[in-house]
């Protein structure tokens, strides 16, 4: 049971999350959606105790997550960051073994139980045959599976993932999401993730949380959250929502940004500005 109580989070003087309350439903797949910079990744990292809120707190099983030993927390809650890094020589097996770190004893001894968890995680991610390959040599989808296997070896009830499908092509996105759903349905893991693709989020989530300007705009079943009104409010995009012809979940068809200029400029201003500046200097 993970919940955020009235948290406020910021980097330096910049406040990213304000007065946010959220309860993660056990046994469900919860997805955070929202615009760039709305604070959804920050929220996920705060829930995983990587960021300490300036006010409020996060409770795990009713206890303050920041007052518990971080290794104890790691036995209950696993996080897969957005672009995790491992040294190039590390093999899949070595990566998965890392998941046993919080369970380790002082001198890093290795028990049958540890080995079993690693084997099971490898098998569940269909990586047993690739176990001795360096992670660096795997394809994007395989690599992501290896990282998920690492979190599985942690044997936690809670699994938090920050954009697990970034950089993957469509088939691998579906593959990863199917795996996550399987982990949820068959192994009863509570999954919390950040996703950019609204339609996939709607298809695979039990609960969607729309984050807007550092707080929860609305949450609930995808049908309740994926409405033209919500999309307009949090993305500034006009859209129609129809039922997904395959899954029956809501499907968002964008029409146009409401403020065309702002929408287009937001992503691209950086380089031309630099170039302009450079030109001025050279003159």
């Amino acid at each position: 049971m993970l919940l955020a109580e009235n948290i406020q989070v910021g980097y330096g003087s910049k406040i990213v999350i304000q007065e946010l309350n959220l309860t993660i439903a056990p046994g469900q797949i919860t997805t955070f959606i929202g615009a760039n910079g709305c604070g959804k990744s920050t929220l996920l990292r705060t829930l995983a105790r990587l960021l300490k809120p300036t006010a409020g707190t996060v409770l795990l099983d009713g206890r303050d997550i920041f007052k518990r030993s971080t290794r104890e927390v790691a036995k209950q809650l696993a996080l897969l960051p957005q672009t995790p890094y491992a040294p190039p020589e590390v093999t899949v097996r070595q990566l998965v073994r890392l998941g046993r770190y919080p369970h380790g004893r002082w001198l890093g001894g290795w028990s049958d139980r540890d080995e079993q968890a690693v084997q099971e995680a490898l098998a569940a991610m269909k990586l047993t045959d690739l176990a001795d390959q360096p992670v660096d040599t795997l394809s994007g989808g395989q690599r992501q599976r290896a990282w998920i296997a690492m979190t599985l070896a942690q044997e936690t009830d809670l699994l938090l993932l920050d954009e697990p499908t970034t950089y993957l092509d469509l088939s691998h996105q579906l593959d990863i999401l199917d795996i996550l759903r399987e982990l949820n349905r068959r192994h009863h893991k509570t999954i919390v993730m950040v996703l950019h693709d609204l339609n996939l989020a709607a298809r695979y989530s039990d609960v969607m949380v729309a984050v807007h300007q550092g707080t929860v705009y609305t949450q609930g079943k995808p049908e309740k959250v994926m409405t033209p009104e919500t999309i307009r409010a949090i993305f500034d995009v006009e859209c129609v929502v129809i039922p997904d012809p395959v899954a029956g979940t809501p499907l968002c068809i964008p029409i146009a940004t409401r403020n065309h200029e702002v929408g287009e400029d937001a992503g691209r201003t950086q380089e031309p500005a630099q170039a302009r500046h450079a030109l001025e200097l050279a003159r």
């Binding site: 990587l50 491992a86 001198l107 079993q116 192994h187």
Partner: protein
Amino acid sequence: MKHGNPPSARTHIRPAYRWHRFTVVTAVLVLMMILLFIVSLSVGETFLDPLELTQTLFGSTTPYNQLMLNLRAPRILAALLAGCALGGAGAILQAIIRNPLASPDLLGISGGSSAAIVGLLLLFPNVSVHWHPPAALLGALVAAILIYGLAWRKGLSPTRLVLVGIAIGAMAAALTTFLLVASAPEVQSRAYVWLVGSVYGSDWPDVAAGLPWVLGFGLASWLFAQHIHILQFSDDVSAALGARLTPYRVIGFALCVGLTGGALALGGAIGFVGLLAPHIARMLVGTEFGKWFVTSALLGGIIVMVADTVGRTAFSPLDVPVGIFTSAVGAPFFIFLLLRGKRIEGRSGEHAAR
């Protein structure tokens, strides 16, 4: 957790570690070390019969006893220990900085030791060798704290650490030069021998002074291996797994400083070993830190021992300092690594691109 285990593969459990490769590598290295030690003992101005030497090692008295035990053996042991310490220190540094080009000498930690030792020689020319390790350690510590403190800006960027380290190294070199200029000629030449990296004239007290530092810090590093191991992954990964990043990094850095100080007290500023040994070790056994550390230490010891033996014998009667050989081999190797290029940058956990 009770229901969290996938049911498959529960039946067959494979052996815990893939000990195999590591075991073979270690065995070969240890064997090499022993053999080279004996070879090293026997060659020199007077050639000693290895067979009789081995007998001497096991207790029977031969005429070689004196020469061997009091001249060559301590020197070889000093080289061996210094090399082991440098190899281990290099592995620690490369792990916590996540950069295969880091080494105690390039990052100015050795420079701090050098300045401290030269200062010690200048101020107290007659001080006992037992003060060398603490002095070297103190110098390394000051340099390390400076580097760490200056590179810290809301966390540590490996790139910043490298650049600040190089700059601190340059400062330490300037300070060393100042101390040299200020001192008397005989201190100058003693200090110079030390600066090049040399085990010339090491005797049993030298070895005894350095040994506890190297062994102590080496053992501590090995016990701490799992925590250093996890620092090689990006910060989010290790923090999520329950590692306490800053304390572990500080401890790792301190261990590296301790080993570097010990090595420098024994053999002076022997260059590039802290870079070379971890690199080869990494190719042999990968980066699982416990294995990497042990292999790197063994390799470092072998490299310095061989280099010193060559320096002692190849150009006889000249006794070429060991540091020259390691630099002459190490620098081209380093440059090769640099040019191969792929792994130098973007290896930090901070970078966003894949």
